[in-house]
Subunit: 209 residues, 2 copies
Amino acid sequence: MYLLLVFRAMRNFIVVGHKATTTPNFSLEDIPGTSGRLDILCRAVTAAFVLSHGIRKDVCVYLVLLGGEVPKTIRLVGETLRHLNPDERTTAALLKKALAVPATPPWAMSTSGIFVRTGGLAEVLADLKDARLIYLREDGADIRGLDAGSLSGETAFILGDHTGMTPDEEGLIEQAGARVVSLGQTSLHADHCVVLIHGLLDTNVFMPG
Amino acid sequence: MYLLLVFRAMRNFIVVGHKATTTPNFSLEDIPGTSGRLDILCRAVTAAFVLSHGIRKDVCVYLVLLGGEVPKTIRLVGETLRHLNPDERTTAALLKKALAVPATPPWAMSTSGIFVRTGGLAEVLADLKDARLIYLREDGADIRGLDAGSLSGETAFILGDHTGMTPDEEGLIEQAGARVVSLGQTSLHADHCVVLIHGLLDTNVFMPG
């Protein structure tokens, strides 16, 4: 008897919210206006996980929140993620709960599959040092030119919010060895980038190599 | 002197909401639970129009709302669309306003670029009889096999909600001469399908023909 092992490599998405709040003191009635545009990150979470009938188990999302005194990161893990609905408000409510958990450098669990800690982009990049890092930037090389081999292992896609990365962040990302790629000439929101990345990986459009 | 005419063909998206409310009596605090899943249509609108810094002018969205006594359709026109923000709640508020406008068979304007009328899928298909109709269904032929020539004119992409089309709707769509195509084997939400369609058209991955 042969055992067929089907291995789907983990897809990580790192989304940096430069003004995103690190406290739960925002209003679900006005997420964009009261949370430092946490709505952008909420939509990126939905794009990363939700399928028509289920959740992508092979996805992990890191939300880097830099709009408070101390940076915080929320990690969402598809394998154990619960209570995520496709609408924006439910996602924001889950993040609000996570931000109410006292954060320390080690991860603390909020609800199932959602974790929070202090620390920002440098710490996330250190966690993912064994993954193939891919930084989405409009002036990068066409993502469709990446070779399939380089995407067969664990990958981590780095996306900014509406403000773009700072020179310090650019430096960290470069130092971590990320490839700089672009999805095309049209400038898109982070969640739409996530949908396109999944679409490309789902349909294996990459060059053999 | 030569005059260079750059023509970008209109992209229409028709999204059918089988249970979507036709009245403004739903709560912005619980859109999925009180509006017959109008949240699905809100996200499709955002996916169709919003870019990182602007609105796609060459897009028109038809939301077919079948969850009331009389079907209604809301049309959003990129060329004149105003007040659309990327968050779900703002979009729902715009649709709420449109549903408060007394609807008759001729289009009535709500806010700039948003129109409403009575009538459902048959009327929309009649409006778009000169467009190339493309029906997204999971068992269709791979969309990437469409020839570029057939996509160079006005196109209209037909998408269902979470409940799928009824046999009557399937009949209407077939009679209208729509091509049945698929984005891949992964079953996706309507808004994610819209993002992928834009992505494919933006990067011209279609076969010459």
